[in-house]
């Protein structure tokens, strides 16, 4: 019964939504804010990766929100899965090959993550991607080594400090510039590592924060009840 109703309703919904898109041409250039960004962002922000420029500069506030959402998820998860009793992961030790291999790969992954977020303004990727990569690296260690422990203290320090750095950069813009999150550093030459003003700084903060948060999140999930 529920199936029939659901299919019927979804049919109606899908039909109308699809009907909306039937007349929308695919792959056509529109005259919109995106064009403005493509044309002016390099001068305005110094970043050659326009997506990064938008994410960190033009829509930096969104990114702040995004970081907040992740932080929120980690906090919420911690609150929901909180348990007074001491917690232990219940994973088995992996085989020796996996162990050794992951020990070898682990620093490389971390390095890759760092590379991705440091070069956010130049190449695809940025803080989120880098942070996620770092978290997967830690996850690898979690899986391979039963006793692998992250330093919680350090994690939460990193988490908080990185978040505060982001906000502080924003407030610095308010103090020394004209508005929140405004770029207060020289833009430098596009396409070099030390360019794009505060973008790399923000992305580094975001990278650390996301990495720490996702790690904490995984740790929390792995360790809970049962």
């Amino acid at each position: 019964m529920r199936k029939v109703i659901a299919v019927l309703l979804l049919g109606i919904f899908g039909y109308y939504i699809f009907a909306l898109f039937v007349n929308v041409p695919f792959g056509v250039r529109h005259d919109n804010v995106g064009q403005h960004y493509l044309e002016h962002s390099v001068q305005e922000t110094g970043a050659v990766n326009i997506v990064t420029a938008i994410v960190v500069s033009h829509r930096g506030f969104d990114t702040l929100g995004e970081v907040t959402v992740l932080f929120l998820a980690a906090t919420g998860l911690g609150a929901i899965l909180y348990d007074k009793k001491g917690k232990k992961r219940r994973l088995q030790n992996a085989s020796l090959i996996v162990k050794v291999a992951s020990k070898l790969i682990y620093p490389l992954i971390i390095l890759l993550g760092a590379y991705v977020f440091v070069h956010g303004h130049l190449t695809p990727g940025g803080g989120f991607q880098g942070g996620a990569i770092i978290a997967t690296g830690v996850l690898l260690m979690f899986i391979s080594y039963r006793r692998f422990e992250t330093n919680h203290n350090a994690l939460s320090w990193v988490e908080s400090l990185a978040g505060m750095t982001f906000v502080t950069i924003g407030l610095a813009g308010l103090i020394w510039g004209t508005s929140f999150l405004q770029n207060i550093l020289p833009l430098g030459t596009p396409n070099t590592l030390l360019s794009a003003g505060v973008i790399p700084l923000i992305y580094i903060a975001v990278g650390f924060k996301v990495g720490a948060e996702l790690t904490a999140l995984l740790d929390n999930m792995l360790k809970t009840i049962k």
């Binding site: 033009h58 829509r59 702040l64 929100g65 995004e66 932080f71 906090t75 929901i80 909180y82 502080t168």
Partner: protein
């Protein structure tokens, strides 16, 4: 540092990041942080308020001119709502101070701060995608807070909330996508400007998606299934957060979007109809509830129905009445949740039938509940009276006498279920009394609210004088577009 509206968002956020660090040093200090932050925010609010009334402050985040950057729009309406959120937030903190003593309370305060960030963000932002982000922040914080007690019912309520909340975000996202596709911009003012060229089909579907998406959090029937569960199973201050902050911010978002982008009159009448249905069904359901907080939740939905009716009139008195009702409802429902929280705590049961005779035992808490009940019914000399009166008058001005009658019928139903509880409170009971006392911080929070409610009831002009420009702002779309787009006021906010 000069004052700027962005602090409403940045400062609580900063505090949320700071809390875990402070928690390492001393757990008790953590409890103070939100209070300090909210006090600071009220200072900011009081300072910015006159400026916002005089001339909207448009803050350009990162210094990019609209529509290429995100802007914050601090006009009379935003000034009013941020002040409201700050005030409610402060009393909720005061109340939580002794109420939330369960571990991990520092997480509670973090979530609470983030929720404040989210809702002020919704209110202030002038960018539609940014609004979505803040909606999500608010929603996720709300899910987590609902399940904060980690009990069976809390998790269930939170899951339902999340399930429907995800639908909400999907629809909002789809609507944003359609808007971007059609207008090529995300700035609210710019969208409003370019919306005229959008084909009507598209417009209506965008509107439908927005109504559905935001209507979920604004508790429009039949999208409000999550609300009674979430309100009743969350810790009491969180119920107050929902009724006082989250819903208000979402309704604001919905109405801002509707008024700004869609100017059909028939659409507004649709809101009147939806409001009436929401109100009636909620009040009728509230009457048959056995749990006090569930009853409050349904009553909250009913009141939101009233707000939606008033917004749907599309007249300036209507909007003003709706804003007034939002203000009063935020205060009163918070007071009710606070007192109900301690009543539940003292009686040890969520059920109404367990409340017999608590009026004798816990005179002050019961007094505040009775006070809130009388106020929310809309009896003078409390604040609720004026807003209900204004809503009725604006509805009658729009020649909708049937709606007037329906509102009054629902008010009668409201009387029945509220006073049933009140008279139960003053009933005799033979069982042993609860020796625990209601803590001073809780009573202080309720006391502040009660004083404000009474004050506004006796001097409604204090609020109404603020509301008139706020209502005008919502109605006057062209002014919003003008200030939102063309004033180069990245400098404005700082050079005062």
């Amino acid at each position: 540092m000069s004052l700027s509206p962005v602090q409403f968002i940045a400062v609580p956020l900063f505090a949320a990041f700071l809390i875990p660090l402070i928690g390492k040093a001393s757990k008790e200090t953590v409890k103070l942080v939100p209070g300090i932050v909210l006090l600071y925010l009220s200072y900011v609010a009081l300072n910015l308020f006159p400026r916002g009334l005089e001339r909207p402050i448009v803050e350009h985040i990162a210094g990019f001119n609209p529509p290429f950057g995100i802007t914050l729009y601090y006009g009379p309406l935003a000034a009013f709502l941020t002040t409201l959120v700050t005030l409610i937030g402060f009393v909720i903190w005061l109340y939580s101070y002794k109420f939330i003593i369960r571990e991990p309370f520092e997480k509670y305060y973090m979530l609470f701060m983030l929720l404040i960030t989210g809702s002020t963000g919704i209110i202030l932002t002038g960018d539609i995608f940014n609004m979505f982000v803040f909606l999500e922040i608010t929603a996720i914080a709300a899910y987590s807070l609902t399940a904060f007690l980690r009990d069976k019912d809390g998790a269930e309520a939170a899951f339902k909330y999340l399930l429907i909340g995800s639908f909400s975000s999907t629809f909002v996202l789809l609507a944003i996508l359609l808007i971007y596709m059609q207008t090529g911009t995300l700035n609210l003012a710019d969208i409003a400007l370019k919306m005229a060229d959008v084909p009507i089909t598209m417009k209506i579907f965008i509107l439908i998606l927005f109504i559905t998406g935001l209507g979920i959090e604004a508790e429009i029937f039949p999208l409000n299934g999550w609300a009674p569960d979430a309100y009743s199973q969350a810790p009491s201050p969180v119920g107050a957060v929902f009724g006082g902050i989250v819903v208000k911010a979402t309704i604001y978002a919905l109405m801002r979007i509707v008024y700004l982008m869609f100017n059909f009159h028939s659409v507004l009448h649709f809101f009147v109809i939806m409001g009436v249905i929401t109100m009636l069904i909620a009040e009728m359901s509230a009457m048959r509830q056995h749990q006090i907080k569930r009853m409050l939740a349904f009553s909250s939905i009913g009141q939101m129905g009233l707000v939606i009716i008033a917004f749907g009139l599309g007249t300036e008195p209507g909007v003003r009445a709706a804003l007034f009702q939002m203000f009063n409802h935020a205060l009163i429902k918070t007071l009710l949740f606070f007192s109900a929280g301690y009543l539940v705590f003292h009686s040890g049961s969520k059920h109404i039938s367990a409340l017999d005779g608590l009026g004798r035992d816990k005179p002050l808490t019961s007094f505040f509940f009775a006070f809130g009940a009388l106020a929310i019914i809309g009896l003078p000399p409390f604040a609720g009276f004026w807003s209900k009166l204004y809503i009725l008058l604006s509805v009658a001005d729009a020649h909708l006498v049937t709606v007037v009658v329906l509102i009054l019928i629902s008010a009668v139903i409201e009387i029945v279920y509220y006073l049933r509880v009140v008279s139960r409170l003053y009933f005799k009971r033979e069982t042993a009394t609860d020796v625990r006392r209601t803590p001073l911080s809780g009573l202080a929070a309720m006391g502040i609210l009660a004083v404000v409610i009474l004050f506004v009831g006796l001097y409604p002009n204090t609020i109404l004088d603020w509301l008139t420009p706020a209502a005008r702002e919502l109605m006057n779309t062209s002014e919003y577009i003008r200030t939102g787009l063309h004033l180069n006021s990245g400098l404005l906010s700082i050079n005062f």
